[in-house]
Amino acid sequence: MAESGWARWIRRAVITALAVFTLVPLYVMVSSSVKPLRDVQGPFTAVPSTITLQPFVDMWRTVPLARYFVNSAVIALGAMVCSMVIAILAAYAVSRFRFRGRGTFLTSALATQMFPGILFLLPLFLIFVNLDRGFGLELFGSRVGMVITYLTFALPFSIWLLAGYFDAIPRELDEAALVDGTGPLGALFRVLLPAALPGVAAVAVYSFMTAWTEVLFASVLTTSETRTLAVGLRAYATQSNVYWNQVMAASLVVSVPVLLGFLLLQRALVQGLTAGAVKS
């Protein structure tokens, strides 16, 4: 596949422009995180006049960052794993079976994404509290409660997206497995899933990030013990002061593990159905 000269230049221009767009705010974050607070509050300077790593030290004391990080990691990973399992099963049903109620299910799953979250926050809170009273289930203020909440946030789109990726995979592939005598679940996990691995990786990232950055529900449904990063980071900005440099430092530090995770997923993202994989 030869690439003509101008096509190559367009491609380079697009990549450069997007890299600049992405990098500029990141550069601001990095450079601000190593400036003393007084410098950060002053006019913007591209190159810090004083470089200090103090914000990276202070940030642990201003806010219990480590605790928030652990909470977020547990909750987001839990929500991701649970929602992936549930969504893969549901997407398989939707993509490979025609059954009564399929359309209704898909539409109502989408409808849940149309209702502003702001509004079912209060009902959900009341449900949690009542479950605690009635059944002793500690959902309010617990990590389990947050996992349940977030896994459902990610579900509808995960199902739709996965179904989309499954749809793009030729049916002959899993039908061949079925003919060979593999059960439907076997066909899903041994044939369809590996073929749709890039899509699965993308959806996993999506469901993780849903839980990782959600603010509103976490601000009401968690206590100081279970508070997540997304909410906890706001504590660097109080009514009267904003620790810009510490916010930036903390954001960078907590994002490193997430990015490492993304890097690992890279391989899954670009694998998958290559030419000739269709054995038909």
Binding site: N130, A235, Q239
Partner: protein, 437 residues
């Protein structure tokens, strides 16, 4: 009503649809020896709040045997958490509230009323500063909360800049304020006479209120809002003119949202004066401006005041303590409120947080006898009025504050702001207030 109960049952019965088996409600800890306390964020960080409160809570436990579990809640979440607690009945025993929320929270019925008998348990009516006690609930009803930290507005001025410009005395009337600010404004040197927080709707609403009172405006006639009266138009005009006509405010202030923005300008000598509440003292200390470098006077008023005008140059700002009506330990909660409002604790806590004691006895402490604190105390005690103590107070602040934010943004971008524009904005806010009530 039957269908209503059905919904409640549906909500409660969700456990079944979750497929989880119930196992009876768990028993709590000993209910007479523990309390849950939601503290607001008063110090530079929530962690610092905890460090300040913990020794006092330990002291309380030694004296009474009651363990207080404190959770410091940022202001951005506090009202939502109180809302959740109110609607579910599942909340703390004692909670800090912004004192302007008093009437609104009182209306929920979720807070214990401090009638005379209850007030007596926490030291009696006379323990408290009268003005602070006036900002605890609707007029004519027993308070729904009691004050704990006091705040009021003042005018901070940079002594060095004043001396350089040959200004010997801080302004004592609004006209002098404008004159002094004009003299100190040097846009080519990036220096401005006065700093304001143009994007903070609360701050805007406070100034609209206090200037409105100086013009004799009554913001509410019973329940009916009167935001668009000529007096209010004049008051808002007076504020916006600082930026629009007198041009003594940096237009960029129209987007300022956080105290630290005007305070760091002030500390850097880019702004000669700021009108702000007394917790700015602690803030300036953090920013690194020594207390000797600035002075504080009451915000100057128009002299003479317009007909019917009231001498008001601050609202009664501060933080109150509320006790949840369904507390498991109401007795302990009252003991705790008494403890926090005792002169001894008032001295310690208000000193640590940079706020004003709300009990007169605490001012005997030398720490509170500085000129700066005396200025704020006298403003709070003598020329401060509570914001309207109505259930829809939040609505009032939001609407008026947003209207001013918009007017200031217009003025800052060079668009004309005349009386008609102001009247239009206020009339719209008035309309919205009415239809929402």
């Amino acid at each position: 009503m039957r269908s209503r109960k059905g919904v409640a049952a549906l909500v409660a019965g969700l456990g079944l649809s979750l497929g989880l088996a119930g196992c009876g409600s768990g028993g709590g800890a000993d209910q007479t020896t523990t309390l849950t306390y939601w503290a607001s964020n008063q110090a530079a960080s929530q962690e610092q709040d905890k460090q300040i409160l913990q020794p006092e809570l330990d002291k309380f436990r030694q004296r009474t045997g009651i363990t207080v579990e404190v959770e410091v809640i940022p202001w951005s979440d506090l009202l939502n958490r109180i809302l959740a607690a109110t609607s579910s009945g599942e909340g703390p025993d004692v909670v800090n509230i912004g004192n302007t929320w008093s009437a609104s929270l009182q209306a929920t019925g979720a807070f214990t009323a401090f009638d005379d008998a209850t007030l007596a348990k926490v030291g009696g009516r006379d323990r408290f500063l009268a003005s602070s006690l006036a900002s605890t609930g609707a007029v004519g009803q027993p308070p729904a909360s009691v004050p704990v930290y006091g705040l009021s507005y003042g005018l901070f001025y940079n002594k060095k800049l004043f001396a350089e410009a040959g200004i010997t005395a801080p302004p004592s009337t609004w006209d002098e304020l404008v004159t002094v600010a004009t003299a100190l404004t040097k846009p080519d040197q990036q220096r401005w006479g006065l700093g304001i927080l143009g994007s903070s709707y609360t701050e805007n609403a406070h100034f609209a209120y206090l200037l409105g009172r100086q013009h004799g405006a009554e913001l509410f006639d019973g329940d009916t809002p009167r935001f668009d009266s000529p007096q209010m138009v004049a008051a808002v005009r007076q504020y916006v003119d600082l930026l629009a006509t007198h041009e003594v405010v940096n237009p960029s202030n129209a987007e300022y949202l956080n105290d630290v923005q005007i305070l760091s300008d002030f500390a850097a000598g880019k702004t000669a004066m700021v009108m702000i509440q007394n917790n700015a003292v602690a803030n300036l200390r953090t920013i690194g401006m020594p207390e000797a470098d600035y002075g504080v006077v009451p915000i100057p008023m128009t002299d003479p005041l317009p007909a019917g005008g009231k001498r008001v140059n601050s609202h009664v700002a501060g933080v109150n303590l509320g006790v949840f009506a369904n507390s498991d330990n109401p007795g302990g909660a009252m003991t705790f409120v008494e403890f926090l409002t005792s002169p001894e604790e008032q001295k310690i806590l208000n000193h640590a947080f940079g706020t004003l004691p709300v009990v007169p006895d605490a001012y005997t402490d030398p720490a509170f006898q500085t000129p700066t604190i005396e200025t704020f105390r006298s403003v709070l005690a003598d020329t401060a009025e509570p914001l309207p103590m109505i259930p829809q107070e939040a609505q009032f602040e939001t609407l008026i504050g947003a209207a001013l934010k918009d007017l200031l943004a217009r003025a800052a971008s060079g668009q004309p702001v005349d009386d008609a524009t102001i009247h239009d904005k206020l009339a719209t806010a008035n309309e919205q207030m009415k239809s929402a009530g």
